[in-house]
Amino acid sequence: MTTGMTTATATTATTTAMAARVENAVKVYGSGDTAVRALDGVSVGFPAGRFTAIMGPSGSGKSTLMHCVAGLDTLTTGTAHIGDAELSTLDDRRLTLLRRDRIGFVFQAFNLVPTLTVAENITLPTDLAGGKGDPEWVDALIDVVGLRDRLHHRPAELSGGQQQRVAVARAFAGRPDVVFADEPTGNLDSRSGGEVLNLLGRAVRQMDRTVVMVTHDPVAAAHADEVVFLADGRLVDRMESPTADKVLDRLKAFEVPS
């Protein structure tokens, strides 16, 4: 679509460049006595073509990290990059365009615009950009998420799992550099949740996409290639090829001392 995107895709194909990263990320809410350091000097990169999970207990700053690296929120100090674009240098409009063209989102709930049909929700970011998108790619996505018979339904007519699958399709529809998923299975039963996680995994492994997912569920984290652990606003650990048990053990480990 855009030139920025083509280069980004090219880099991911050849090297293990970072699709997104933060350096010395600090985020402080409030000021004075009531100031809360949600992020306290985090440096972490999310490699292209990989499925990374961000884990940590409540209040560890995992959602804040995701919001800041995805351009939904701004850092107090430090830098956040999507590809080679430094987010703090972009104004609101450029940031919006960057999100639209290079980032996909899957939220925990309320992912879809209730007035639009399934098909319209999927193409919403490309429609907002005023472009035609890539109809074949979107068509293929629809089959992958298995919603061809629901294209003209409204979100209210779908189950929670179906709604999240639409959200996943929407997130990948514009071939973004990176898809951020914030507790995508938080509101789903385990079967529907499993379907959504499988979709995310397939997108990374079969279609060479990049996914960063925030979750507190070890089972969900086990679908990722790598898990990064956050606690009290700091990066405390990384784990390659996680399994649910290993993740659970790790979580228990830093619950005890703190």
């Binding site: 919001h67 939904l72 929120d73 609101d92 409009r93 919006t96 365009l97 999100r99 639209r100 063209d101 989102f105 939220f107 309320f110 992912n111 879809l112 615009v113 209730p114 007035t115 639009l116 319209e120 919403l124 970011p125 429609d127 907002l128 950009a129 005023g130 409204r154 209210a156 929407r170």
Partner: protein, 853 residues
């Protein structure tokens, strides 16, 4: 404190902004209403004081007892009294002084050559009464007129015409009289009696120019000696007066004068304003109802929680109603203050625009405070009642449900009811317009049509918005599409929001169409029945100054360019006991310049005892050519006339025609209202007009108009009225816009998460703003389209009803240009209403929006 009360107060505190629109709507409506009432009372009181002061020295008025009143006239024409009576009255014991009072019409020419006044309030001329107690005008500067040609004018008139003592100017009586201003006068302490102009001349001049014969007076003013009451004076006077002459107390006379101003001006003015404040309040009702409805809907979860925790239905309902009452009472109270402010402002503004508003305190009566307060509270509480009851009905389980897209409102029952009402209203209006022409029926139908529109609103809003918004998808892409779907979300809400604007636009369109039709009618009348080339006329609207000299038409006729010139004068008489307006003219020439339709008999030889009348009047009075009719004139004389001709059309020529010779013995101050002139073959309009202007210059320099100009000037007053109506309706439209803005703001609040999502996936702020703005425009477009349709239909019905009810033909004109402007203004208003909500939506904090649970 009671729990329900505590709940409503805390909710009001938290959601102040949601009620801002409601508050403003109630405030504006109440302020308008209160302002109108206070101003009406104040004006009335001021005129009372002014007349009281001006005529305080007059203890009795002697005048003719009989009046002749023609249909459609509030004040009859009174016969003059013999001025010789003054001597007889002065001999009566208890009389200190008596003076004849001669009143007539006289229009002064200002320094710039333009006539002063004449566009509504009368231009009076009279004899300057030397007894300062009896003269209602007081000399403020200069001296009283002594020699012929000397006059005193009231200060306001002098100021308007830029005239000073010592200046010489022309007074049209209507014959031009050269006058020199020797004094300036005040009336009841003011520079003038509202915008009435006054010129006081010597008694000899007044008799010469303002009466038909010397020795006549309009009335005789009498002052009582010390210790004689007004009633005692009247009782003493009555025995010496001849038959047909009466005496009334000065008090009664002053009251009659105030009454006259009230009925001719104040009451109409106040009623007019009241009607428009009513419209504004009706529009406000819709906005308020809508706001409360939305607020209750938004609070479903909260109310459900309350219910689940054990609040009774009543408690929830009462809590909602208490909220409404707090808003109602505070907004109405502030509105009252605003109303008093408006009245005070107008009092200050009127003199600035040349309307001497008698000074005095504002009259704030209990009624003019209680009524707006009550109306404000009732409107507000009434609008909140249904939503409050609905709030009470909230099921405890609703706390768990997500409120998704609301598709209610388009129910079958509503469609059937609305359809039925619409059919009924169309039936009644059409019956009122055609089968049994009646304005009442048409009016009832119109009111029903409005109700039907409101009921049908939610049913048609979906289709209408879909249709109106269709181009948006193509033009504005997904932004437009989203706007359209948002407008479609809750048909009931969209319809209610649009209804407020619809009513405003409907009334605007109704007046626009009606005014255009009136103009077209005048145009048609002129083109159909005016066969002349140029016209000399007095303004068609208002008093028209002093009219045209009866000697002007014959003088014009002598010009070589002119083939025919005929003047139409006005007289009154009772024809077989009923007051009728007569056209005094040269009937033989009438046919050449006016299309009279089919004429039975001949207009040529009416003589001094012949009369011609229209078919319609002939039918009414059961007269035909050759029959005798008895005419009673204002001087009390009766004469028998023979019907010599019956003609078909009366539009400009009037219903009864007699010759000048027949009228002469009964005449008062003569004036023509219209002179029609036709040129000889081969004379072009410019040359002919110049020739006529030359003559007119010698007779007071009245405007000479071509046919088109004449038609336009006849309609001049309509534009003025229309401007006033537009200005008054602006308030209703403003309230409707507040409603749209408020609904949008509330909707944005509801859609916080959705907006956050849209922003997250890449909607720019400007796209978001455009989306909200377009939604606003769509709602406004729906309201405007409905209003245009309804207004145009009602305008058409009204015109048809008038056409059926009156004898003269009424033309219908749609005024496409003006209606297009109305439509554009409606759409622009939609953009305007959407500005603030759009800005607020764009400022929304994305993260909080996403996180909102």
């Amino acid at each position: 404190m009671n729990a329900a009360l505590r709940l409503s107060l805390s909710s009001l505190r938290t959601h102040r902004r949601r009620f801002a629109g409601t508050f403003l709507a109630v405030l504006l409506g109440v302020a308008f209403l209160a302002g109108t009432l206070v101003m009406g009372d104040t004006l009335r009181a001021s005129f009372d004081t002014m007349f009281g002061r001006a005529t305080s020295g007059t203890d009795a008025v002697v005048r003719s007892a009989d009046t002749i009143t023609t249909p459609g006239e509030s004040e009859g024409v009174r016969e003059p009294v013999d001025a010789d009576l003054v001597a007889r009255i002065e001999d009566v014991s208890g009389v200190a002084a008596a003076a004849p009072d001669i009143q007539g019409a006289g229009q002064l020419i200002g320094k710039n050559g333009e006539p002063i006044g004449g566009a509504g309030p009368p231009t009076l001329a009279g004899n300057w009464i030397d007894d300062p107690e009896l003269n209602s005008y007081r000399l403020a500067e200069g001296r009283a007129p002594e020699k012929p040609g000397e006059v005193v004018v009231n200060k306001a008139t002098a100021e308007t015409g830029n005239l000073r003592i010592g200046d010489t100017t022309t007074l049209r009586t209507p014959d031009p009289v050269e006058v020199t201003i020797v004094g300036l006068a005040t009336f009841g302490g003011e520079d003038g009696m509202a915008q009435v102009t006054y010129t006081g001349m010597t008694r000899a001049d007044a008799e010469k120019y303002l009466t038909a014969a010397p020795g006549q007076a309009t009335s005789i003013l009498v002052r009582a000696g010390p210790g004689v009451s007004q009633q005692e004076l009247v009782d003493a006077l009555t025995p010496v007066l001849p038959e047909g002459v009466e005496a009334i107390t000065g008090q009664e006379s002053a009251e009659e004068n105030t009454e006259m101003i009230s009925s001719q001006f104040l009451d109409i003015f106040t009623l007019f304003l009241l009607v428009f404040s009513g419209i504004a309040l009706l529009v406000a009702t819709f906005s308020i109802h809508n706001t409360f409805g939305i607020v209750v809907a938004q609070r479903t979860r909260e109310n459900a929680l309350l219910r689940a925790l054990g609040a009774s239905r009543r408690q929830v309902t009462v809590s909602a109603l208490v909220e409404a009452s707090v808003v109602a009472v505070t907004a109405s109270a502030v509105g009252l203050a605003g109303g008093i402010g408006i009245a005070a402002g107008l009092q200050a503004l009127f003199p600035a625009i040349g309307f001497p508003f008698p000074e005095g305190d504002l009259v704030i009566s209990g009624l003019s405070m209680l009524l707006p307060l009550a109306v404000g509270v009732v409107v507000c509480l009434g609008s909140a009642l249904l939503p409050a009851v609905r709030a009470g009905r909230t099921a405890p389980l609703a706390a768990l449900r997500e409120t998704a897209v609301d598709q209610s409102g388009a129910s079958r029952g509503r469609a059937v009811l609305g359809g039925g009402l619409a059919a009924l209203s169309v039936g009644i209006t059409l019956a009122g317009a055609f089968t049994t022409p009646s304005l009442w029926l048409a009016g009832t139908g119109a009111a029903l049509a409005l109700v039907a529109f409101v009921v049908l609103g939610p049913v048609v809003s979906s289709t209408a918005v879909r249709l109106l918004g269709a181009p948006l998808d193509r033009l504005r892409g997904v932004t437009g599409g989203l706007a359209r779907r948002n407008a479609l979300r809750s048909p009931k809400r969209t319809a209610a929001t649009a209804s407020a604007l619809m009513i405003g636009v409907a009334v605007v369109s109704l007046f626009t169409v009606f005014a255009a039709s009136l103009k077209a009618t005048m145009d048609q009348t002129v083109s159909r029945s005016f066969a002349g080339d140029v016209a000399v006329s007095t303004p068609g609207f208002g008093g028209g100054g002093s009219g045209l000299s009866p000697r002007l038409a014959p003088a014009i006729a002598e010009k070589p360019e002119v083939a025919n010139a005929v003047g139409l004068g006005r007289g009154v008489a009772e024809v077989n006991g009923e007051g009728r307006a007569l056209t005094v003219t040269d009937p033989a020439a009438l046919g050449a310049l006016f299309d009279l339709g089919d004429v039975h008999g001949s207009l040529d030889g009416l003589g001094t005892d012949g009369i011609a009348l229209t078919e319609k009047e002939a039918d009414k009075q059961d007269l035909k050519t050759g029959d005798k009719a008895e005419l009673t004139f204002t001087d009390g004389q009766k004469a028998t006339f023979t019907v010599r001709a019956v003609y078909g059309q009366s539009e400009l020529a009037g219903d009864y025609v007699i010759t000048r010779a027949a009228w002469a013995p009964h005449r008062t101050q003569d004036a023509d209202t219209l002179i029609a002139v036709s040129f000889r073959d081969g004379v072009n309009t410019a040359d002919g007009k110049a020739a006529v202007e030359q003559v007119a210059e010698r007779y007071g320099n009245q405007d000479v108009q071509t046919r088109d100009e004449y038609a336009q000037s006849s309609a001049g007053g309509i534009d003025m009225m229309l401007t006033l109506v537009y200005a008054l309706l602006a308030l209703a439209v403003l309230i409707a816009l507040l409603g749209i803005a408020n609904t949008l703001t509330l909707a944005i609040h509801e859609r916080t998460r959705e907006l956050g999502l849209l922003r997250a996936v890449g909607q720019t702020r400007s796209q978001l703003r455009a989306m909200v703005r377009w939604e606003s425009v769509l709602v406004a477009a729906f309201g405007t389209a409905g209003g245009l349709g309804l207004g145009a239909f009602l305008g058409w019905v009204l015109v048809k009803a008038f056409d059926g009810a009156s004898d003269s033909a009424f033309a219908f004109a749609l005024a496409p240009t003006q209606l297009t402007v109305v439509a554009l203004v409606g759409l622009a208003a939609g953009v305007l209403a959407g500005l603030r909500p759009a800005r607020r939506a764009a400022r929304l904090d994305m993260l909080r929006a996403i996180a909102t649970e």
